[in-house]
């Protein structure tokens, strides 16, 4: 299979939230491509629009948000076939048949809080079943049932068959004693196990792409390491694309091939992971990299921190939105002119006036 097969193209995506106090541009002109079998990382601080971008791909933007502009092109291909149809997801009805087939079935997702995304009244198995259909774990149902439901909904299998797949999936994500665990309820599992159930659910239908929104943020490093390994293994086996959203730079360095850096709904830089870490161009990317403590070498030095705070979304700065916090601020330029999205060298893109002739 050729390496660079396009799976999802996001073009000039804009998502707006129309609230009483005004319009918030949660995502403001974001474009990137996701390829089969590769991992794209999206980093940025809370509120930068990274999760909303992911939700837009699945037409799952919470009210009162809406896609104001741009498109999400999904290169759909039936299993085993080479025929590719291009579907514009942003034009689909959010409750329609097509998007419901895609969600969970062809594009799986994992969210941050494993507890609240499982329904407490279902068991682990029923969760995976259901996840296949509803992408949520129900606490009052066995996880096994929930798993099996997902599988059933998307694959037209009998209850027994989907239960077997549920057990197999729990086994693959490293849940001990899956035959028993399939009958346990979410509260009987630890946080790491619940997150692994979520991954099992997301992967149970063999999706072409996995959207992982802060999948390991709430977990211990030991569990995090296990989960990252499972994701990579599955990616290799199924040639699955991953969109990995996080603010943990260590995790992104390990997982992603390419990185998009977002700030206040805009993409400020996009490049290969090695370039982002070794040759960051945008001052925000540089500042972000310097503000994290690194293990290993001990330095008594202070951390470089980004001064100030994320601006109020109703009252965005003029010009470049990062200028009030930027160490390379150029008075008279950055506060007046909005930078454009520009290609520098190779595949490194940046949005900063330092790299423009103005």
């Amino acid at each position: 299979m050729p390496e660079n097969e396009l799976l999802v193209q996001i073009q000039d995506l804009r998502v707006e939230f129309d609230v009483r106090a005004g319009i918030v541009k949660a995502v403001d002109g974001v474009s990137f491509d996701i390829y089969r079998g590769q991992t794209l990382g999206v980093i940025g601080e809370s509120g930068c629009g990274k999760s909303i971008t992911a939700r837009a791909i699945l037409q799952m933007i919470p009210k009162p948000g809406r896609i104001a502009n741009g498109q999400v092109l999904y290169h759909r291909r039936a299993r085993g076939s080479t025929q590719t149809d291009i579907i514009n997801i942003s034009k689909l009805d959010p409750d329609g048949q097509t998007i419901r087939e895609i969600r969970g079935g062809e594009i799986g997702m994992i969210f941050q809080e494993p507890m609240s995304s499982l329904t407490p009244v279902y068991t682990a198995g029923s969760h995976i079943d259901e996840a296949v259909s509803l992408h949520r774990l129900t606490p009052s149902r066995k996880v096994g049932d929930q798993l099996a439901e997902t599988i059933q909904a998307h694959k037209n299998l009998t209850k027994q068959e989907s239960r077997e797949i549920a057990i197999e999936m729990l086994h693959r994500v490293g849940i001990p004693k899956p035959e028993q665990r399939v009958d346990s309820y979410p509260h009987q599992l630890s946080g790491g196990q619940r997150q692994r159930v979520m991954i099992a659910i997301a992967l149970s239908c063999g999706p072409a792409m996995l959207i992982a929104d802060e999948p390991t943020t709430a977990l211990d490093v030991s569990i995090e390491a296990q989960i990252l390994d499972i994701m990579r293994e599955m990616q290799e086996k199924e040639n699955m694309a991953i969109m990995f959203i996080t603010h943990n730079l260590g995790v992104i360095a390990e997982m992603a091939k390419e990185i998009v850096v977002m700030y206040m709904g805009k993409q400020v830089e996009r490049a290969s992971t090695v370039d982002v870490f070794y040759e960051p161009k945008h001052p925000y990317t540089k500042a972000l990299l310097q503000s994290i403590p690194k293990v290993g070498r001990k330095s008594s030095a202070r951390l470089a921190s980004i001064e100030g705070m994320v601006p109020d979304p109703f009252n965005l700065p003029t010009g470049c939105v990062f200028h009030p916090r930027c160490p390379s601020f150029m008075p008279g330029k950055c506060d007046k002119i909005a930078p454009t999205w520009k290609r520098l060298v190779g595949d490194q893109w940046v949005s900063c006036l330092l790299y423009e002739e103005v």
């Binding site: 001990p176 390491a225 403590p293 690194k294 290993g296």
Partner: protein
């Protein structure tokens, strides 16, 4: 801080064999059928003006240990020796076992040991102004004197990076990072000597996290504070700590100088934990040690060394005998039978 110090120098807090069990009740008569050994034999010490990091996986008892020191939970056993000025009556200071104090004495000690909490939203009363929140410890301890205290509060607020005009505002008007600063100002209002920081930055964004860590370091230098820094982010802990203690299922695994512990661990659990930390370097080829299985259940721990079912070096003796937490090198403690034979890998 100093490279060559012996244990007895400058000790501010000396915790010995601390235990905290939570009973499990069952049935109509609420009979006690077992105990969750949240903290089971915890031993560490903190020197004056230094930071001790306390790390471990969730459920290992690090938060409970912090709270039991302040007797927010009554300890089941063990001793907590604290060098108190107030209990010694002013200028003098002496080591006193907090576990044996009565309420009035304990109240005095609480002026010397403060706490910063993880959640900057729920740990502040939404109906109190910032000024009242920071003043509250002074009021409770009878240290509030109108004008003088207000000046102290304004000084504290500016010290933590807030402004005097924030005094009359309410917590909801602030961002997460600013709220954490309010919590820090409150913790410092009685001029403590030891601050227990329970995951103080884990709810914050990276850029705000860096600001807060820098602030904590500045305050430590200016007020000669000692910190117990409880956190699960190992890179943050290494950055801020002079020494680090690693806990596993209510027991101590290892304690040493931060760099020593990260570079030359003596306990297999520390080694595995360090290898799991994702490195922010895409060219780094990680060789993770994946620990099999989950953290042991503290109500039903394994025999011998609690870590043996997940330990890749485990031998017969590890199943049978509980290892002692012993000093293997100066100021470097570990609880492992095999510590002398193993050569472990650091980060």
């Amino acid at each position: 801080m100093a490279a060559q110090t012996t244990k007895t120098d400058n000790i501010l807090l000396d915790v010995k064999g601390l235990q905290k069990y939570f009973p499990i009740h069952k049935g109509f008569l609420r009979k006690v059928v077992g105990n969750v050994k949240a903290v089971d034999d915890v031993t560490f010490y903190v020197r004056q003006g230094e930071t001790l990091g306390l790390v471990g996986e969730s459920g290992c008892g690090k938060t409970t240990a912090g709270r039991t020191i302040l007797r927010l939970y009554e300890p089941t056993g063990g001793e907590v020796w604290f060098k108190s000025r107030l209990l010694a009556g002013g200028a003098d200071e002496k080591l006193i076992n907090l576990a044996g104090l009565d309420r009035a004495q304990m109240k005095l000690v609480r002026r010397e040991i403060a706490m910063i909490f993880q959640d900057p939203i729920n740990s502040l009363n939404p109906r109190m102004t910032v000024g009242d929140i920071v003043a509250e410890p002074m009021v409770i301890h009878g240290q509030y004197h109108q004008e003088e205290s207000e000046a102290i509060i304004i000084n504290l607020l500016t010290r933590v990076g807030l402004r005097a005009d924030h005094l009359r505002r309410y917590p909801h008007e602030f961002s997460g990072g600013q709220r954490q600063r309010i919590g820090i100002a409150r913790a410092l209002s009685l001029n403590p000597r030891l601050v227990i920081c329970d995951e103080p930055v884990s709810a914050l964004d990276v850029s705000i996290q860096a600001q807060t860590l820098n602030l904590l370091q500045d305050l430590q230098r200016d007020f000669n504070l000692a910190y117990i820094f409880v956190a699960h982010d190992l890179s943050v802990v290494q950055h801020i700590s002079d020494r680090v203690a690693v806990m596993y299922v209510g027991k101590m695994a290892e304690m040493a100088d931060a760099e020593q512990l990260y570079m030359y661990p003596l306990h297999p659990y520390t080694e595995a934990l360090m290898s799991s930390v994702p490195k922010a370097d895409p060219k780094y080829k990680s060789e993770r040690i994946i620990m099999q299985g989950d953290v042991a259940d503290p109500s039903n721990p394994p025999s011998g060394c609690y870590f043996h079912p997940r330990c890749r070096y485990a031998k017969e003796i590890c199943k049978e005998k509980t290892p002692e937490f012993r000093e293997l090198k100066p100021d470097h403690f570990a609880a492992c039978h095999l510590a002398e034979e193993l050569t472990l890998r650091g980060v």
